[in-house]
């Protein structure tokens, strides 16, 4: 028997709701939510798409920690009850669904800029490309954004994911906005806000290390 406590939110009202249900042994948190929604409570809302930790739609707090619901098995939680809440540092829209707009505004602020130079292919030196690769494959799930203590009191901080992306772009020879981005990175909401607590790196489901990216930017910024 699984026991779930879920933070609910709708139209300005906040409450916690308990559910109990039987589930097959392999169930993930995403399965649990689907079963509750279909069998017990039609009004529960959450997000999903790929169910393969590829889209980053299902980020939430599971027993206080940032997790992807589709990747978290109930059996591995080792707790009598599973507590589920929306991600932190982002406005809650309904139940477990948060508004990712601030996250993507910051992503946009570090600016992607590739000129259309169809005639002249440029490749990065191999070593640089390896560093870029090591910091790539972010699925924009926002887990690091939620786990960041700086963001919880300084909402203008660009945050780990955007800065990690900025790092890959600063290294990329094909990009043409290095100077402008460099200024954004060094400005008020930029890298120097980071206290190097490393929660971002701890929670990243893709094994990325935004902390190291920020450290490298600090050295070069």
């Amino acid at each position: 028997m699984a026991h779930a406590r879920i933070d609910r939110f709708e139209a300005g009202r906040r409450w916690t709701q308990d559910y109990e249900l039987e589930l097959p042994p392999q169930s993930t948190v995403l399965d649990l939510l689907f079963e509750i929604q279909q069998r017990l409570d039609q009004t529960l809302s959450f997000r999903y798409s790929c169910r393969n930790w590829m889209c980053g739609s299902c980020g939430m707090l599971v027993n206080g920690r940032e997790q992807l619901a589709c990747r978290t098995r109930l059996a591995d939680l080792d707790a009598p009850a599973v507590q589920i809440a929306p991600l932190r540092n982002l406005p809650v829209v309904k139940d477990l669904i948060v508004d990712l707009a601030p996250f993507f505004e910051k992503w946009n602020a570090v600016g992607v800029a590739f000129p259309d130079q169809s005639q002249k292919p440029i490749a990065n030196p191999q070593k640089t490309q390896q560093t870029i690769d090591a910091h790539s494959d972010c699925i924009t799930c926002g887990l690091c954004y939620s786990a960041c203590d700086v963001l919880s009191h300084a909402s203008d901080f660009l945050g780990p994911a955007a800065l990690n992306r900025a790092y890959t772009l600063q290294l990329d020879a094909r990009d043409v906005a290095h100077q402008k981005r460099g200024a954004t990175i060094a400005a008020d909401g930029g890298v120097f806000r980071c206290h190097s607590m490393g929660q971002c790196t701890n929670v990243c489901p893709k094994g990325l290390d935004p902390l190291a990216a920020i450290a490298a930017l600090k050295r070069g910024a």
Partner: protein, 556 residues
């Protein structure tokens, strides 16, 4: 009700939708482009989940003619020749432009050239990739570019119906999940890029919001669809009973690298069906697995065993880190033990009939990517899917930009679409849409799945008819905002329409070809080298035939 006007309305944010928006804007930055997508922008759809990679001719030792031949052979000559030719000829340009324009990174070899690997059905190693996360890279980079250009993005906002008058399309009715309040969007050109319908079958690899919306929307608008019987199954979906994880793809590379398939009697059975064993094409391996399971030689959970442990733990870790992790989630260690797999619904070859510039039969409606039919014929090669969505997405964008200003805007009354979508709210105590949806998917899987015959399909068609009627009695409760049950009620309506097209066309095609296998007509019949079409006429689903489109002799 909110109303919006835009020059170009793109529906969907997979490879096709993103490329359409990007190329429309870059062709004419003055255009007003709106992109609406059912899931989150750039996070939904199947392009995101592409692992294998992207087929493209880059090497001087390869040729587009060879890629074309492979594609036609894979499609059993049912492909529209002109569309297949365009696919292979545009792909090199598109891959190059993605690298330069959007910064998409593909893996490189030690000389700095794009690394190319081989997938089943190709005579040359021409698949570029980004490890096994090719889709994430393509979609993330393209989304950044679309966002950076200031496109109006309406995410978690599904198209409910196209707005049609006198056979012309003038936009769409949208339903933003967040508010549950409809928006009527008037557009000069609408680009349909909502992807396929793999989840009309109960075991599927696709993203969970998919249900064939695009086919149903185009059908209700009066467009002609083709090849709808051609549903592709990937042979190795992970078996995870009771979990949403069920059906996730276990990559083809496991078989390519020497993985073996066993039945419950510990027999490496593929040799019975094909001399190439596990390296046979997707349809052949899918059927091999299916026959073993049907003959009672399946695993406890209704699959077969896939084993790569003989390759050695180190090799498995190095070659398949993603798959290793995927199997851990169901408590299996790929390095040491076999895993249970079974065929999983993966792709729909059929779709809206288009020409090489993505025109459908309906003026004002362009269609690209999995929503369209004809490129792949009876079977799609691995690596040709994302090539299709980006090549034709780009073409749709260019076409839309060049013709949008010539077209007029028209206000079409959306009230019929809206009241149909709202009807589940008018009842209480009706059926639960999600249960109905699950029942529907089981009918499709058991009666119109990997192996088909007339008896089972006729039963399916009756069952679908009955389900169709029950849809009129579902009810939903709660508030309209982010109401998953209501969304499901809208999904099942479209899914059953698509299921009917698939089942009916599969019954009509009395032969086996590519992905379509009939146990009662088990060989390919040359007289069936033609396409089946389907469209809505006087309120009925009408079926027809057409000659396969060939290239004009002068062109070659």
């Amino acid at each position: 009700m909110e109303e919006l006007e835009t020059d170009i309305l793109v529906l969907g944010s997979g490879g096709a939708g993103l490329m359409a928006a990007l190329y429309a804007l870059d062709t004419n930055p003055k255009l007003n482009v709106t992109l609406a997508t059912k899931g989150l922008f750039g996070k939904s759809g199947c392009t995101r989940m592409v692992q294998g990679g992207y087929n493209v001719v880059l090497s001087p030792n390869d040729s587009t003619e060879r890629h074309f031949q492979d594609t036609m052979l894979g499609g059993h000559w049912l492909n529209n020749h002109i569309l297949a030719r365009t696919l292979v000829e545009d792909a090199p340009v598109v891959v190059h432009e993605m690298w330069e324009k959007a910064g998409v990174r593909f893996a490189r070899d030690k000389d700095g050239n794009l690394h190319q690997k081989g997938l089943a059905g190709q005579t040359f190693d021409r698949t570029v990739h980004h490890g096994d996360l090719t889709g994430i890279e393509i979609v993330s980079r393209l989304s950044e570019q679309v966002r950076a250009r200031g496109t109006r993005i309406l995410e978690e906002c599904r198209a409910v119906d196209l707005l049609v008058e006198d056979g012309e399309v003038f936009g769409a009715v949208l339903l933003p999940a967040r508010t549950g309040e409809f928006i009527a969007v008037r557009a000069k050109i609408t680009v349909l890029a909502t992807g396929g319908s793999a989840p009309i079958f109960s075991v599927s690899s696709a993203s969970l919001e998919k249900c064939g919306d695009g086919y149903a929307l185009a059908y209700r608008a009066g467009a002609t669809l083709m090849d709808m019987e051609m549903s592709q199954f990937h042979p190795t979906g992970l078996v995870a009973p009771g979990s949403r994880f069920n059906g996730s793809v276990i990559a083809e590379e496991l078989r390519a690298a020497g993985g073996h398939l066993y039945n419950s009697e510990n027999e490496r059975f593929m040799g019975k069906y094909n001399p190439r064993f596990e390296k046979a094409t997707r349809d052949e391996v899918s059927r091999g697995c299916y026959f073993e399971i049907a003959a009672g030689r399946g695993t406890p959970n209704g699959g077969v065993w896939l084993d790569v442990s003989h390759l050695g733990a180190k090799a498995v870790e190095e070659l398949f880190p993603g798959m290793l992790e995927r199997c851990f989630l169901i408590g299996r260690d790929l390095r040491k033990e076999p895993i249970e797999v079974c065929p999983t619904s993966h792709f729909e070859m059929g779709g809206v009939r288009i020409d090489r510039d993505c025109h459908s039969d309906l003026p004002g409606l362009l269609v690209a990517g999995e929503d369209s039919g004809g490129v792949h014929g009876a079977n799609r090669l691995g690596g040709n899917g994302v090539a299709d969505s980006t090549v034709y997405g780009r073409r749709a964008g260019l076409r839309a930009a060049n013709t949008a200003l010539e077209r007029r805007m028209k206000k079409v009354d959306p009230s019929r679409s809206i009241s149909a979508a709202l009807s589940p709210w008018e009842r209480t105590g009706g059926e639960q849409p999600q249960a109905l949806h699950a029942e529907f998917r089981d009918v499709m899987w058991t009666k119109v799945g990997v192996v088909r015959d007339a008896t089972a399909m006729s039963e399916a068609i009756d069952a679908l008819q009955a389900l169709q009627q029950r849809i009129d009695h579902v009810s939903v409760t709660g508030s309209r905002a982010y109401n998953l049950t209501w969304q499901s009620a809208l999904d099942v309506r479209n899914a059953v329409t698509v299921g009917q097209m698939v089942a009916q066309c599969a019954l009509i095609r009395q032969e086996s070809r590519g992905a379509h296998y009939r146990s009662d007509f088990s060989s390919e019949d040359p007289s069936w080298t033609k396409n089946l079409t389907v469209r809505l006429e006087s309120g009925q689903m009408r079926f027809g035939e057409q000659e396969v489109v060939r290239e004009p002799a002068a062109a070659r």
